[in-house]
Amino acid sequence: MKRRTETQTLVVNGQTHQLQVEADTPLLYILRNDLQLNGPKFGCGLGECGACTVLVDGVAARSCVIPVKGVAGHEVTTLEGLGTPERLAPIQQAFIDQQGAQCGYCLNGMIMTLQALLNRNPHPTEQQIRNELKFNLCRCGTHVEIMASAVQAAQAQP
């Protein structure tokens, strides 16, 4: 079947982009391939593992299963939009301080999902953090360090 491309307007990390793409392309492909934002990772491609998580209007979203047309009119934030290498966001600093990474592939998802939690609840309990991360998969087993990072980030909130 012939695929039609059309102009999509996308707001990512405060910047507006006009892209000539197929409307059904997963958002993740656009972020990584067209915008070179490689924070979000391709994991399972089915929204199951969480490695591709971004924020849409401040809410966690699995960018591998959302087509680019699905975020028209919304604001997308990727890992790159949280902070810069010079000025890290508190959540990013916490993951460095607590050595949250082993291979690091899942960390984008962990950080973005936690940021979404902090957006709506600046002072979550440990139980709430566990519940939030329940469906973010890590296969290296750094769960203890990830929890410590999350707790530090929550304490750093004003």
Binding site: G14, D34, V59, R62, G81, N119
Partner: protein, 963 residues
Amino acid sequence: MTLPVQGPVQGAASRAGSSSIAPPAASELLHAVTQRPPGMAWNGTAYTGARLSHLDTDAARNTPGVVDIVVRQDFIGIIASQPGQAQQARSRLQPGWAMPLPAPEATAASHARLGSNNTPHGPNEERISHTYFWPAPRQQAPAWAIAHRSGDTLVVWTHTRHSEALRRELAQLCGLAEDCVRLIANGQTDSEGYDVAVDAALLSRSCGRPVRVQQDPDTFNTKPVSIEVSARPAAGDTSQGQAGSGNAAPPAGELLVSASLHAGHRPSIAAMLCGYEAGQPPAHIVRIADYAPQARHAEPGSSQPYAGMLGLPAAAQVFAQESFFDEACGLQGRDPVQARLDAIDNATGRELIASVAERAKWSSPRKSGKNSYEGRGFAYAHVIDQTQQPPREVWSAWVADIRVDPATGAIDLTGLTVGHNAGALQTPSAPRIEEDVRRAAARWLQDASGHDSWGATADTDFPLAQSATQVQLVEQGPVGLAWSHDAELPAAAAIANAIHDATGIRLRQPPFDSGELKQRLALAQSGGRAKKTAYALLGGMAAAAGSLLVAAMPWRPAIAPVANVDTSIYSAAAIERGRLVAAGGDCMVCHTAEGGVPNAGGLALETPFGKIYTTNITPDKETGIGAWSYAAFERAMREGIHRDGRHLYPAFPYTAFAKISDADMQSLYAYLMTQEPVKNRVEPTQLPFPYSARPLLAGWNLLFHKNETYQPDSSQSTLWNRGAYLVQGMGHCAACHSPRNALGAEKSGEQNFLAGGFAEGWEAPALNALSKAPIPWTEDELYRYLRTGYSSLHGVASGPMAPVVQSMAELPDQDVRAIAHYLGTLAPAPSTEASPALQAARLEEQSRNDQRVLSLAGENLFQGACAVCHDAREGPPLFGARPSLALNTNLHSDSPDNAIQILLHGIDNPAMAELGYMPGFGDSMNDQQLETLLEYLRMRFAPDKPAWEGLPEKIRALREGES
């Protein structure tokens, strides 16, 4: 390929907020909805409606994404990170409400009648009381507001016509100085955001974050304003007032606006529910004899803070009071003009009334034959328009003469005598004013048929055929005839009073529907009824016999192609109406190939008889319908015959389209013929023998097709008939939702209508009493589902239903409401023992606690693939809806087809983008895994239903069907 257009702002950095005029970024916003009491009332000083008796917030609080639930007295607000999550949480709240007992006086008022002496209260306690309705002002979109309370300032983005009052109220409620409250226009110029602004402010105050609140779709634009007027006889014994006795005091009236959710004569709903009390007694009691309603809202700092504060339309007030005055005069046997002259002190008003009455020959005797159905009515208005500088007074008096056709209920305006006096000098020419007067009056008359009038958008209807109305203008005073829209205020009441004079029937809600009038006339004289029915039956039989003869002809002549269809004769209104008919009929959904040009045809429809390709219905002469005359078009739509005489397959639902009214059919033709022609030759349909023999369809039509337009059921309301017409006619809901027999015809009989069917590999669930939905559908949930594509108690619109909801988005709100209303009467009665929220909670509880299920092999698949979005209580809230599987109709259905379809293909084209997407698992799960998962889903989420049978075959068949 990539062009950054602008790029200064980092999304998270603009938290300062209050100094900027731009609303907070979407990523910083929280969203909230409110839960209102079932019955709200405001007596002028305090809230008197239903009170919150108990509330269980646990289930709602545990809904993923919920930030807080705020309860203040009877106000309940739910804050979440997305609107959908807040709505979902709301449907899990279980509020209990205590209805207040009606005040004894109010009870007496609603029953007592002026002049009857048999009530225990004595004559001076007796009141008459009537409620009038006024159409709500039309809004294009639901109002919204964003409020951000930080520190000592409150910033609110919204649009209101009453910004001073809003600022005052917000300051009072939030304990701030008035200059700390900042209102910023949000650009919604035709929506009233007063109530949502206060909701948002209260909720932002409680969570300290910017909060956005949007009016619920079903509370805007639909409910008419209700105005209750009651009167007590003035001092002196008026209960024995005699006809013509000039000394009897006129009925003193007071105007009570019931708080029927209309923003009128009350503070915001949120403030009411929080227990806010107005410091002063109701300031809106007016003497009915000569009142000057404030046509626009009061000046700030006025001594009567709530009089007309939120802009009860002056027209509504005049209509209610003038109708009431006439009714009261009728009960006393007094002449309304004389009664008014007796009561008025104002000289200008008196002179105006006297000269209008004289010109209209009010006092000269009229022939008053019992069956003449002619009548006249009088109404008067005196208003102060405070939007003018200086405020301008307008007096206006109308006499309307009408004739009613008892057979159709049609109301014919035969004469209008209008006098007015306004303090302005521009003088348009008299013919222009006459035209304005005629239009102002005709606006309040509504077409008889009702079921095919696109009522919510009056401008799309064909103008009514009215005989010429005689208009007399009365000049008065030195200012001449400067027309003012305020001078139109008495029009509706004058007509209502004339209708009462002509028929004895009192209509209390404009526009006056001739269908309703006809029904009530018939009721009043039900003696002549049986005979009419018999005649109608005979006529119907004759018509049916005629259509049988025609339909049985196996071969039909071609209708000659026309060289040119003159589309210039179609008005913009007719084309617009046709566009709505096309949207209601979803023409585009079938007549557009995947990725193709709309309406150019070529989509392959899978039927049990083979593939049928839809045709090009753009007005292209060679490949479309450009050479079709109206006669050919209508024959195709009503009888299923191609222009060239071929029979069309009934996959084209002409069996339903036959019900479309003539006016709608003509509009549809006008719309289609004025679209862009597209040359697109589609693949011809070739079914295997015997279905390839199209003449056989003549026999099919004889058996299964009735070529009749929709006939309204006079025992049902206009709304019901409208809904039935849309559902059975252009909506052709039964094409998918009714079972079909072996020959592909919808099964006949009432029990089969909308009893569920199959189409395009999907099950179309039963909409009637056979519905398998775990929680019975209600009118409100149907409305929500059809308007938004999602009901949190049932699930999302997917498969072939998603484009139907998209197409329906074009329809006016009232029509979607009518469809929901009609379908609601077919659905099984809701269980009375438990609220939907309680049933939902119970179903979810059952689904979670079944240990037997959790040890099934499907548990791993579910946890891996589904739980992140579908676990009802755990896990992160993700962008989009989070449908509860325990309430999902597909998992409770007898057939697994829809569940399999969605697992295989996901949802890549949701009815609304906000609902979110679901990936298909067809490529990543094999048949065995799908079967395991489906068994698990069925057992866990529909524990009371038997396991599905034949899953492997079904999965294989539906998977193959995709290629």
